[in-house]
Symmetry: C2
Amino acid sequence: MALADRGGVDELSMRKLARDLGYEVMSLYNHVANKDDVLAGIADLVAAEIEPPEAAPARRGKAAWRAGIRHTVLSAHAAMDRHPWAVALWPSVTSGPHRLRFMEGLLRSLRAAGLPPKVAYHGYHALMMHILGFALLEQRTGLNDDNVVEAASQFLARFEGEEFPHLIEHMHQHVDASPHEDDFEFVLDVILDGLDRLRPQPA
Amino acid sequence: MALADRGGVDELSMRKLARDLGYEVMSLYNHVANKDDVLAGIADLVAAEIEPPEAAPARRGKAAWRAGIRHTVLSAHAAMDRHPWAVALWPSVTSGPHRLRFMEGLLRSLRAAGLPPKVAYHGYHALMMHILGFALLEQRTGLNDDNVVEAASQFLARFEGEEFPHLIEHMHQHVDASPHEDDFEFVLDVILDGLDRLRPQPA
DNA sequence: ACCTGAACACCGTTCAAGT
DNA sequence: ACCTGAACACCGTTCAAGT
């Protein structure tokens, strides 16, 4: 995991891992079936960092139903932020115990919020997609604002500025945007608002 | 692209591509800078298949504002379905002209729908995430229903069925679900409903 | 039970040599 | 302008040999 955090998942080869640990390559295979096994392992370490919905501070009022959901989703987002390589691994790797616990917790919080089974089913997908998709987009644009603006303007220049007015406006919005966290939460609340429409009002 | 469609992106090595074309490996480098260039190229071919919002049939009534958005988003989803390998490539590859045109079209349709700039900005992200995230999830579960149910139940059995009641229910919902297309559209409309809340009513 | 080295079948890419 | 072959620096993994 430290290796992947340093140089991305490309830096994590069996040979480099072995060297890092002070052994020869083939010694690893006494403790691990293959490379996929290693990747599944570190992906589950990321899942272990995600806090469950129950860890949310208690809330009152209209937004109470979504406190737990928001907490675990934001925690998942933060974990992906700390370990960007985990996003690409997520779908391609078999789920470990911590990930299963996270999935269970998110589903539990959706039902606890009063959503009917079908809405919870789809809501789970919507939230998972938001977590993964947003992390994917963040990787692309990069966290460094200077990079974004330079790369964007440079690239757009190649395609005659006139042809993509909306795209240029969008890039400007990216540059002018305050901390990225806002973007994630804004869309999260769009999704939660959409789900709220499908939530039967409690007595 | 044909090579990637056949065996996934792993099947697409420079050496295999050259053999497929009847040349030696190094001949490719006369026409292409490197492998990333090839990947960017085929990713943009996928983008070229996405229909613009203007291709939507005209609609009347309450849902008229979202017709163009829905059309291009569903078309993008279909393209990802036809070329699953494109999902992983999307964020890691530089955007080509067709992709820029698609982005521009989606942004244009959001503004045309009457969404204010800030809502269009976030709505664009929400929809892109939905397209990418959903395709990612579909890859994981696989399109074959038999595979889903078998893999799911087999895996859950390893972790004592009692510990994950909601996860088990979710798996059952996956198995009982009708065609997958429904799931995508359901969540899409959740997002669009959320955006609708932020849309000033037209005169 | 764990470690090791040689070997195999692959990669992407550089570089000098051909036509 | 385009093609080619040898070579380099890498991969993950098998297998036989060590302790």
